[in-house]
């Protein structure tokens, strides 16, 4: 009897945000209208060529296909890709939020990790002095630098919070400035590029027409990892307990300090993963990266149903929250709304999405009561 009861409740939890996504999707498909897009084909050499057709007057004119602006494979693929960086960070941040903390340093941490990874990659790149070490080892080394530094910074955040007994808002506000400052000092404020081609080719690899699989796969992996952590591992349960009632957790013998250390480390790590993907995709890093991401990430978590007072939230919800925010951003572009109004629209829709989500849960609950 219990499992059957469990499923609808779980489904309920994220169905609000899914409804929001569906509503947004329908609106965008409807109002986005269509576009004439040029048609390409992949030649024998693997390069893309435009397709030409013979026009009414016999001339050879480039072929166009009419398709819905929102609802087409490429656009959706791009949406997914653009979402992935924030979504991955949001999963990590959600762990922190669920355990009752907050991590304002993710944006800066992302910048520092990017920059460190980029320095290694440049060293290995065509103009670097380590070009000989090219290949897999090089990329792994860069990944290790990037993720290792990120996890270490996260762990330091956690340690400071635990040892100094200072509110996480303060500690991560401080480390937000410190880490960005470090990124700046390391790079002297210059963009670091010139990577070996291997990584870029890998991260930008497209299956089919425009579907960048790697960031997408990473996002799915992060979601699954977050879901397993929160739902299947004892450690996740401890995080919920600490967020729900820290004192009760302590009375139950949970080592609160250890839990905190873990979630901040994971939050750092997730920012590192996002950073590594992003430098792979965009091919460069600078100390200005990720500015303001902390708020986007927290917004994603909150829109996705994580409670800032701790103890509530899910990995899937948070990723969907990131998707909602990205959809709003690209919806503004799609609908041709004047950029001047973009912030007004974004702000309004974020509030509306959360309200809709709440409304939905409330309705579902009433339904459940009947």
């Amino acid at each position: 009897m219990t499992p059957r009861r469990l499923t609808p409740v779980l489904r309920l939890q994220e169905c609000g945000i899914i409804a929001v996504i569906l509503v947004l999707g329908i609106l965008l498909t409807w109002f986005g209208g269509t576009v004439r897009a040029p048609v390409f084909e992949r030649g024998a050499d693997g390069a893309r060529h435009r397709v030409y057709e013979t026009g009414a007057d016999g001339a050879r004119v480039p072929a166009f296909a009419v398709r819905n602006k929102f609802l087409n494979a490429q656009n959706l693929a791009q949406l997914a890709k653009d979402t992935s960086f924030i979504a991955i960070m949001a999963v990590g941040s959600a762990l922190v939020i669920i355990s009752g903390g907050i991590d304002l340093s993710v944006g800066s941490l992302y910048a520092l990790a990017s920059v460190l990874g980029a320095l290694v990659l440049r060293h290995l790149g065509p103009e670097g002095s380590g070009a000989a070490h090219h290949g897999w080892q090089g990329i792994l080394l860069a990944a290790a630098a990037c993720l290792g530094a990120a996890a270490a910074c996260g762990a330091i955040n956690g340690a400071l919070i635990v040892v100094l007994r200072v509110h996480p808002f303060v500690v991560t506000l401080g480390s937000m400035a410190i880490l960005r400052g470090l990124a700046f000092v390391i790079t002297s404020g210059q963009s670091v590029g010139g990577f070996p081609d291997g990584l870029r080719a890998l991260v930008r690899f497209q299956a089919g027409d425009g579907l960048t699989v790697i960031p997408l796969a990473a996002m799915v992996l992060a979601t699954v990892a977050g879901w397993i952590f929160l739902g299947r591992l004892a450690a996740g349960r401890r995080a919920y307990a600490v967020g729900g009632n820290e004192q009760a957790a302590r009375f139950s013998g949970i080592r609160v300090a250890r839990v905190k250390l873990l979630v901040y480390t994971l939050s750092g790590l997730s920012a590192g993963v996002a950073a590594f993907l992003a430098i792979g995709y965009y091919g460069a890093a600078s100390s200005g990266d990720g500015q303001g991401y902390e708020l986007s990430v927290i917004a994603a978590a909150v829109v996705g149903g994580a409670s800032l007072s701790g103890g509530r939230g899910s990995a899937l919800g948070v990723v969907l929250g990131a998707l909602v925010i990205q959809m709003i951003g690209s919806g503004i572009v799609l609908l041709g709304i004047d950029q001047n109004y973009s912030q007004i629209v974004l702000g309004s829709v974020v509030i509306a999405a959360v309200v809709l989500d709440n409304l939905n849960t409330w309705l579902a609950r009433r339904q459940f009561l009947k």
């Binding site: 576009v35 004439r36 897009a37 040029p38 390409f40 390069a47 893309r48 435009r50 480039p62 602006k69 490429q74 656009n75 791009q78 653009d82 960086f85 960005r180 700046f184 002297s188 404020g189 210059q190 963009s191 670091v192 590029g193 010139g194 870029r200 930008r204 425009g210 992003a278 995709y281 965009y282 091919g283 460069a284 600078s286 100390s287 200005g288 990266d289 500015q291 303001g292 690209s330 572009v333 799609l334 041709g336 004047d338 950029q339 001047n340 973009s342 912030q343």
Partner: protein, 295 residues
């Protein structure tokens, strides 16, 4: 026929790009009338500087069927792949203000930021007769173009033995924070008698400079309407204006030439010179803004 040109500037919060937007829209109107085409400008500027958002905008524009793209690159490295992908899709790309030299954009129109820093410092040194203590106001630490200007200025100062650099000062990029920073620095270092402002957000306020006209020399970037008052009051000696209206106008012109007339520019690099504004030409220059910021 209808053509859409995507224009991506660095940030909405920087007022110079609003002039670029007016320029682009006016170019679209002028050229549309001349060439009997319906030219649309699709303005896709991130709210704050973010090269990744710019790269995403390039990708989105390609998907949305833009016929050409003009972009001012916040981070050249990050936009290179996106620009190349757009070109692969048959969408010509022009850069303005900040170039991505390694990409396959067909033209770039703009200043050289490093050069710009040098010019500012050189002018300052001249007004100070080659001797004195200078400070550099450099805006946000993490804006790559400002970093380049700052380096240019530092390098130029190093060539003048009579000049000491007291420091390079960063601040949150709001006019008031910038103005507060200048006050603080002057309070802590009353010996400073020259300011090179490679980012001059502080001059967007009316009373930023805590010195009597002439007591401290100042050369600053940009010549937006609020800044001109300082030239008139004598607190600032020279302003260097960027052709921000032209960034938009000329980029669109180059793109339309390419798309509709299949004409390529003579050279990939088209330099937009800095305009020197000093008390002698300030009133003439001020009239430009009536055109450049027309709503």
């Amino acid at each position: 026929r209808t053509i859409t040109i995507g224009v991506i500037a660095k940030s909405q919060s920087n007022p110079v790009f609003q002039a670029a937007r007016v320029g682009a829209e006016e170019a679209a109107r002028d050229l549309g009338a001349r060439l009997h085409a319906d030219i649309r400008i699709d303005w896709r500027t991130p709210n704050d500087e973010d090269a990744q958002k710019q790269a995403q905008a390039v990708e989105q524009l390609v998907l949305a069927g833009a016929d050409g793209i003009a972009v001012s690159c916040s981070d050249a490295n990050k936009l290179t792949d996106a620009i190349n992908a757009a070109v692969d899709h048959g969408v010509p790309v022009a850069t303005f203000d900040s170039d991505a030299p390694a990409s396959r954009r067909f033209v770039t129109f703009g200043i050289d930021d490093e050069k710009c820093g040098e010019v500012i410092m050189a002018t300052l040194v001249k007004t100070m007769n080659g001797r004195g203590v200078v400070a550099i106001l450099a805006g946000s630490q993490n804006a790559p173009n400002l970093q380049k200007r700052m380096r240019g200025a530092v390098a130029e100062a190093a060539r003048h033995p009579g000049i000491t650099i007291r420091g390079v000062y960063y601040h949150k990029e709001t006019p008031q924070d910038a103005a507060a920073k200048v006050e603080q620095v002057m309070e802590a270092n009353p010996d400073i008698n020259g300011w090179a402002m490679v980012a001059a957000a502080c001059l967007f306020t009316d009373n930023a400079l805590p010195w009597q006209p002439g007591a401290v020399k100042c050369v600053a970037m940009d010549a937006l309407p609020p800044e001109l008052a300082y030239l008139r009051s004598g607190q600032v000696q020279v302003l260097y204006a960027q052709q921000c209206y032209q960034w938009g106008y000329r980029s669109v012109e180059l793109l339309v030439d390419r798309i509709l007339l299949d004409r390529s520019p003579a050279s990939v690099k088209e330099v937009s010179p800095l305009i020197r504004v000093d008390p002698s030409n300030v009133d003439a220059f001020a009239r430009n803004w009536d055109v450049w910021l027309r709503k």
